[in-house]
């Protein structure tokens, strides 16, 4: 489902390629704590392993993030989702979509994959209960034809978690 959408996506522009190569080098020198980039030959899709931070409700749990870059990255945000099974969190849907403003409206080209990862880990770490968003079933049903979370009209109302 997701792989077919990636194949139909436009290839990275030269600017996007250069910037991603720089990010990859920086990641190799200085990876964000708790994350591991799974090496592939595909610059346009990164698979990243996330380890729940010690002392949080996700300690000793491992999840996978899939980051897909658009043609005009970093002018446009990458698409970031958890590969199911996604962590149980009030802002993460069971299909892996993440309700986090910086991935959509609040994206800025000064952000990097590394800074996104830190935001996601911080979002996980501040959760106190393992539960799905209240509208999980309705949302997931709506996304059944492989819709990207970037097409969702998100409401960001909760800044506690």
């Amino acid at each position: 489902m997701t792989s077919s959408s990636a194949h139909s996506r436009k290839a990275l522009s030269k600017i996007a390629c250069n910037r991603l190569q720089k990010e990859l080098v920086e990641w190799q020198v200085n990876p964000p704590a708790g994350f591991k980039h799974k090496v592939t030959d595909n610059l346009q899709r990164w698979i990243i392993e996330v380890n729940g931070a010690p002392g949080t409700i996700y300690a000793n749990e491992t999840y996978q993030l899939q980051v897909d870059f658009p043609e005009h990255y970093p002018m446009e945000a990458p698409q970031v989702i958890f590969i199911p099974p996604a962590p149980l969190h009030p802002h993460i849907y069971s299909n892996g979509h993440i309700c986090l403003d910086i991935l959509y409206d609040s994206w800025s080209p000064a952000m990097t994959v590394s800074s996104i990862c830190i935001s996601i880990l911080s979002m996980l770490s501040s959760a106190t209960v393992k539960q799905r968003p209240t509208d999980n079933d309705r949302y997931v049903k709506n996304c059944q034809n492989g819709r990207s979370p970037k097409e969702t009209r998100w409401w960001f109302h909760d800044d506690k978690v």
């Binding site: 910037r19 720089k22 970093p74 409206d105 800025s108 080209p109």
Partner: protein, 145 residues
């Protein structure tokens, strides 16, 4: 007699057909207008809450305004004190004689070619989100008084 009757029928049919066509085109235009105003209405009610943010974020900056933002030619000597002489959009290090744009309020700097693309669709500083338009309007307002 027969010929003139035939002519009359053709004329009547011709008139009928063009009248139908005109009515058809008019209805279509009216329908479209009604539907347009409805969607506009829906959009307005939906987005009223985040309208303020949307205005600042989605709308870009006029090319004339962008052109008025100060620029500087990068010079290693002058930028010696800067810890990280790098454009945070492309992550490239500044090279000698490259043209940079300096944001008026926050002084964050970027390659001219990098920031100008961003400002076509957005009006905030990529690093600190300071709205660019407010700062410009504010500045001109101050100089006026």
């Amino acid at each position: 007699m027969f010929g003139s009757g035939m002519n009359l029928i053709t004329t009547v049919i011709g008139f009928g057909m063009s009248a139908t066509f005109i009515v058809f085109v008019c209805t279509k235009m009216i329908c479209r207008r009604i539907r347009g105003s409805q969607t506009r209405l829906l959009f307005q009610t939906e987005s009223r809450i985040d309208l303020e943010q949307a205005e600042a974020e989605i709308r870009g900056v006029e090319p004339v305004v962008v052109a008025a933002i100060p620029t500087i030619k990068f010079n290693r000597e002058a930028f010696k004190s800067m810890e990280d002489a790098q454009c945070s959009i492309c992550l490239g290090e500044y090279e000698e004689k490259e043209v940079l744009r300096i944001m008026p309020k926050c002084a964050h700097n970027f390659h001219l070619s990098c920031i100008d693309v961003w400002l076509r669709k957005h009006s905030t500083c990529p690093v600190c989100r300071t709205p660019l338009l407010d700062s410009l309007e504010f500045d001109t307002g101050q100089s006026g008084t």
